[in-house]
């Protein structure tokens, strides 16, 4: 038996949310939803875990801080010792205050860029990548719920029966 993906389309996010609640309470696993805007409160319903992007941001920031420190120490102290405002020269630690602004900026830059690139990579939405959403209308005013038979213990017919009561406007199936 081939596995199938069922795309159920709604024209209102509230209806989709109620439908998702109903399906999940019957034991259906919904793998994803597609929507032109974030649907508040859908994540816990369909069991999406909190993003770990924040942890990545911290790590990228730490990388930036380290790189900035190593870089500035090499440029300003080791490779070409600089006279920094007449302060005790040739020491990173005693001039650390003058290096703080750049460390800060570089930390922020690495965290921001790292986060943005990670986000685009993880979602496969780098410029030029093929679209991931099943229907172009989900970028306009329609909402789609994706259910995979592979992830559910029920077969297609049972799923169809349950989906029927959720008030959808269109249903589309793909064999994978």
């Amino acid at each position: 038996m081939s596995e199938k993906v069922i795309y159920v389309m709604y024209d209102d996010d509230g209806v989709l949310k109620d439908g998702a609640k109903k399906l999940v309470s019957k034991g259906v696993k919904i793998s994803d939803t597609f929507s032109p805007f974030p649907i508040h409160g859908i994540d816990p319903i369909i069991g999406i875990k909190n993003t770990r992007l924040g942890i990545m941001a911290f790590l990228y920031g730490l990388t930036g801080l380290t790189l900035a420190t190593i870089g500035m120490r090499f440029f300003m102290i080791v490779d070409w010792p600089m006279n920094i405002g007449g302060k005790p020269s040739f020491s990173y630690l005693e001039n650390i205050l003058s290096f703080v602004p750049i460390s800060f900026e570089f930390t922020v830059m690495c965290a921001a860029h790292g986060m943005a690139i990670t986000y685009l990579l993880k979602n496969k939405t780098l410029p030029g990548m093929p679209a991931q959403n099943p229907d172009p209308r989900t970028t306009d005013d329609k909402f789609v719920m994706e259910i995979r038979t592979a992830e559910n213990s029920m077969d297609e017919k049972d799923l169809d029966k349950l989906i029927k009561d959720t008030g959808f406007i269109e249903i589309d199936k793909k064999t994978i």
């Binding site: 409160g41 405002g85 302060k87 205050l97 703080v100």
Partner: protein, 395 residues
């Protein structure tokens, strides 16, 4: 649901007040004969009255900010902000009293520019007398107090009226008044900190000082709001406030900690870098006499909130928020302590029973006034136009 002060809370507050007064009394009796005792007493009076007055003012500012930006999420914690802002009249009374005594004692070595003998021999202060003289100082102080009081009364009155009649007229009135308050506050927050705090180190000045003081005050205000919210939640009130609101308050505490650290560092770094004699004296004084406290409080107020409050879960955890909140309040008290004492007492200052006792006394009055204020109005506003948005707030 109307809030009632529990017997336990009352007992604890009076216990705190009693301890504070007892420690103050012991401090007074043991220290009475030492040099500069009146200066020490008034310095502490200024520290503690200003510290808690500033929290009330921070709450008023936050309320005005929320009105002016038409914020939605805060609607269900609005009465807490109003209760903290309601400390302002008491804070003004106490601080006004301390300032009055200092003025009658010709500055009492706290404000040197109030002492005619000092001014007569000090050219630098003479150059500043057009701004720094007791009459103009009091005109300004009264203008600040009057402005804050008028706006506070207006916000409170309209907030209670809104509960009865609802509609959007009052909301748009609040919107206008909130924006107007921010205009006044933008100027007054700077100038009042120059008057009350920066003029203690009368030879020195910094254009950043106003923002620095303001950021510290905002940070402590957010922490107090979190603590009061958590306390009320624990007692079973505020059923409309959920983790999302507490998370948002936690974010504010996190962000304002950074703001404060940023401004502290900006002020420090520029003066350190330029290394000009008349500017570095301020920090020289602090590093020579308060090295551990001065840098310790910076690390506490910067690193602790940064590392502990960074994660999402921490901002939703009542225990962590309370722990870090107490640390931040202590840290910012030390900040104000050094701001005032380094200029007035200098090397002779130390934290003894008197300091702790007076701080505890002021703290218990502050808590008592806030809890009393909370009983005066329903804890959740009834007809706030954004109440629905606040209930469904989700992040």
């Amino acid at each position: 649901m109307e809030f009632q002060i529990t017997q336990k809370a009352k007992r604890n507050i009076y216990l705190l007040l009693g301890t504070g007064l007892l420690l103050t009394l012991i401090g007074v009796l043991t220290g009475m004969d030492s040099n500069h005792f009146s200066t020490r007493l008034l310095t502490n009076g200024l520290i503690d009255t200003f510290f808690f007055f500033a929290m009330g003012l921070g709450a008023l500012f936050f309320l005005a900010l929320a009105y002016a930006t038409e914020t939605g999420w805060y609607a269900s914690v609005k009465r807490i902000i109003e209760a903290v802002a309601g400390y302002l009249p008491y804070g003004m009374g106490l601080m006004g009293l301390v300032l009055l005594i200092i003025t009658f004692m010709d500055g009492a070595h706290v404000y040197q520019w109030m002492d005619p003998d000092v001014v007569a021999h000090d050219e630098i202060i003479q150059g500043k007398t057009a701004y720094l003289n007791p009459v103009f100082f009091w005109i300004r102080t009264i203008v600040y107090f009057a402005c804050y009081l008028i706006f506070l009364r207006g916000f409170k009155r309209r907030s209670l009226e809104e509960d009865k009649i609802g509609g959007t007229d009052l909301h748009f009135m609040n919107y206008k008044k909130g924006a107007l308050f921010l205009v006044f506050f933008a100027v007054f927050s700077s100038t009042s900190s120059w008057d009350w705090l920066m003029s203690i180190d009368v030879h020195w000045f910094s254009t950043l000082f106003g923002w620095y003081t303001f950021a510290g005050m905002w940070c402590t205000t957010m922490v107090v709001l979190i603590m009061v919210t958590l306390y009320l939640k624990k007692l079973g009130y505020l059923e409309k406030v959920n983790d999302n609101h507490i998370h948002d308050l936690g974010k504010w505490a996190f962000a304002t900690s950074f703001l404060w650290s940023y401004l502290w560092f900006s002020q420090f770094m520029l003066i350190w870098y330029a290394n000009i004699g008349e500017e570095v004296t301020y920090f020289q004084m602090r590093i020579d006499n308060y090295k551990l406290l001065y840098f310790g409080m910076f690390i506490i107020n910067f690193a602790f909130p940064m590392l502990i409050l960074m994660s999402r879960d921490a901002k939703r955890h009542a225990g962590i928020l309370t722990f870090i909140g107490l640390i931040i309040i202590g840290g910012h008290w030390v900040d104000v302590y050094i701001m005032v004492t380094a200029g007035s007492l200098g090397p002779t200052a130390h934290i003894g029973l008197l300091e702790i006792g007076m701080a505890l006394t002021a703290l218990s009055i502050f808590i008592l006034v806030i809890l009393k204020n909370l009983t005066k109005a329903p804890l959740t506003p009834v007809n706030h136009p954004f109440l629905d948005e606040s209930i469904h707030h989700e992040i």
